[in-house]
């Protein structure tokens, strides 16, 4: 660590003519090569999207004809999309996904932030143990819970309700940890001043701590939302009624129902992918930063 900072100022005066041309020349060729490699890979990465789009824009006959072609014999058509939107449940499933994911995100944020605040700031008996239990619970893999959870939901008569989708999905122990660490960094002086003025805990939490934590709350919200939106196993188990399915589970039933309707399959998949792609285009920066800051704890 110390060597470069020490050697740099010493070298710069006399080495400036040497060092300056030293850096740029090594760049261009390798950088051009790197750009080419990455471009080829990026194009390869887009192929599944492109092929799905082209297929979705074909007629079923063209989609199922050999040799396969990127340009359909009878031209592009929106038939598959129209059929899927008319006959299918995709709009309903999208709303279900939107509603349950939003509810899961809201509940998760409220309960996780308040417990994280308590552990970060309030000196109460048993808090070390509480934090220990929450951190330890990170290790429990959700699939281990599916059988007893199903049993529990069945005995509560909640199978095939929104409750069954929402309630078991709001415990995100890693997020409590992430939020607690963020709250730890907020200077205490701000709160102490408010405490002196006679403000209650709840007011301090909602008017001082939460507004200061907007970036981390946004990152947590985005993660929880995406996770909930894409979750498959639990919603697959907890719901059967077609009008209650979330998008990922609904798509699974489409696959078996439509069978060999390739264009419609792809149109459905693209319609299901669309909302999150739009979210990503809007919140690209926050999502990418969120992966860097909360990503390690968030999976």
């Amino acid at each position: 660590m110390a060597t470069p900072t020490l050697s740099r100022p010493a070298l710069q005066p006399k080495g400036s003519t040497e060092a300056a041309p030293n850096r740029p020349p090594k760049a261009p060729l390798s950088r051009i090569l790197a750009t080419v490699v990455v471009s080829v890979l990026a194009v390869a990465w887009l192929v599944p999207f492109a092929w799905a789009t082209v297929t979705a824009l074909k007629s079923e006959t063209d989609a199922a004809s050999t040799p396969i072609s990127w340009i359909p014999a009878s031209g592009f058509t929106l038939d598959a999309f129209a059929k899927v939107l008319q006959s299918g449940n995709i709009p309903t499933w999208t709303l279900n996904s939107l509603f349950t994911s939003a509810a899961i995100t809201a509940i998760t944020l409220v309960i996780s932030a308040s417990v994280a605040y308590a552990i970060s700031r309030i000196d109460f008996r048993g808090k070390r143990m509480l934090m220990g239990v929450i951190v330890a619970s990170i290790i429990i893999p959700p699939p281990v819970l599916i059988i007893p959870l199903f049993q529990q939901m069945q005995s509560l008569n909640l199978i095939d309700t929104y409750w069954a989708l929402i309630l078991p999905q709001v415990i995100h122990s890693p997020m409590v940890f992430v939020l607690k660490k963020f709250f730890d960094q907020i200077p205490r002086e701000l709160e102490e001043a408010a405490l002196m003025d006679g403000a209650g805990r709840l007011r301090i939490f909602t008017t001082i701590v939460l507004p200061l934590s907007r970036p981390i709350l946004a990152a947590v919200a985005i993660f929880v939302f995406i996770g909930a939106w894409n979750n498959f196993l639990w919603p697959f188990i907890a719901t059967n009624e077609s009008s209650l399915l979330t998008l990922p589970v609904g798509l699974q039933t489409i696959k078996s129902a439509y069978g060999i309707q390739y264009a419609q399959n792809m149109a459905s998949a693209l319609l299901a992918a669309l909302p999150l792609i739009v979210v990503f285009l809007f919140f690209q920066r926050q999502i990418i930063r969120g992966v860097a800051t909360t990503g390690l704890a968030g999976t």
Binding site: T3, P4, T5, S7, G15, K26, S30, R31, A34, T35, V38, L41, A42, W45, L46, F49, W51, A63, P67, I68, I111, S114, V115, A118, I119, D123, F124, G126, K127, I134, S137, I139, I140, P141, P143, V144, L145, I146, I147, P148, Q152, L167, V170, I171, N230, P248, V249, L251, K255, Y262, M266, A272, L276, I277, V279, F280, Q284, V291, A292, T299
Partner: protein
């Protein structure tokens, strides 16, 4: 209260009692969900695994460790466990190595940084079902892109999802496409945190790009790599979605994962007790790996 001497401790104990109440009040909502939907299922699952309970509610009686004994002699259980470990091994390696390679190249100061991030990360946002639909279609024997590409290269067609020797690899390819962008972003962030002076000093010493990567970047990325590998292993062990959606565990059980076996024992075989026992065997495996990881990282930092 009445004298100056007693006010201080009284105030303190009053405050600490208030802190106790406030602390638990703020924790209560989370704790309620935590107890209801995490602790309780963990406990009731453990109890259930000691019974012969079926999905219809019959045979709830205590049978001791019989389910565990049966599971340890169940060749399908071992096969699913083996498939899961195999998937974990052959998916973790590319998911770490490709992510690192991509991040290292993109970090060379390429133009249009956002474009690369967008391209490699965007599949991560797709639901598993979407990914499975995309790839099942591309793996289609006659109409799929993969066999079309092979044909153009003069290679005979491959029965991607229907050949027991190939199916797991086909699933790994789809999985890499889907999730490598996440590790890629983690590596990219870690690379950007390495102080620039390290590279400047090295290039003054005449170290080239490859030298710099192996002697500066790679060692500096050590802790990140350990984290990514551990998280990837734990994530891969839980595999279910894409396998169930693309092959339903076939052909002939060649890709069935342990989570799918839990699912099938419970919901196809109607044996909740047995299925709970397999869940706990799976949980035991995860615990062992997590403890090994804690042991390794502690040793490293000590």
């Amino acid at each position: 209260m009445s004298t100056a001497r007693t006010t201080a401790p009284a105030a303190r104990s009053r405050r600490s009692r208030r802190d106790n109440i406030h602390g638990w009040a703020f924790s209560a909502p989370f704790l309620a969900f935590f107890l209801m939907f995490l602790v309780w299922p963990m406990v009731s699952g453990a109890v259930m695994s000691l019974t012969g309970k079926s999905l219809t509610g019959a045979n709830g009686g205590f049978i001791g460790l019989a389910n565990y004994a049966e599971a340890f002699g169940d060749s399908d259980m071992w096969r699913s466990l083996g498939n899961t470990l195999y998937f974990t091994l052959i998916s973790t390696v590319p998911l770490v190595v490709i992510a690192l390679a991509l991040a290292a190249i993109v970090n060379m100061g390429l133009p249009a940084q956002w474009l690369w991030r967008l391209s490699f990360f965007s599949p991560f946002l797709l639901a598993s079902t979407v990914v499975s639909l995309f790839f099942a279609w591309m793996y289609n024997p006659e109409l799929g892109l993969f066999n079309d590409l092979l044909a153009k290269l003069g290679i005979p067609p491959v029965a991607w999802l229907n050949d027991p020797a190939v199916a797991m690899w086909a699933i790994v390819i789809a999985t890499v496409w889907w999730t490598v962008g996440f590790n890629f972003l983690l590596y990219l962030a870690a690379l950007q945190n390495i102080p620039q002076q390290h590279y400047e000093a090295a290039s003054l010493d005449g170290a080239g790009g490859w030298r710099q990567f192996f002697s500066i970047s790679l060692p500096q990325l050590g802790p990140t790599t350990v984290m990514i590998v551990i998280l990837q292993i734990l994530a891969s062990l839980k595999v279910f979605d894409q396998i169930y959606q693309m092959t339903e565990g076939g052909p002939g059980g060649a890709t069935r994962s342990i989570v799918q076996y839990v699912f099938e024992a419970g919901f196809t075989g109607y044996r909740l007790g047995y299925s709970a026992a397999i869940s706990y065997i799976f949980f035991g495996l995860i615990l062992v790996i997590a403890l090994a990881q804690a042991f390794i990282t502690r040793k490293r930092s000590a």
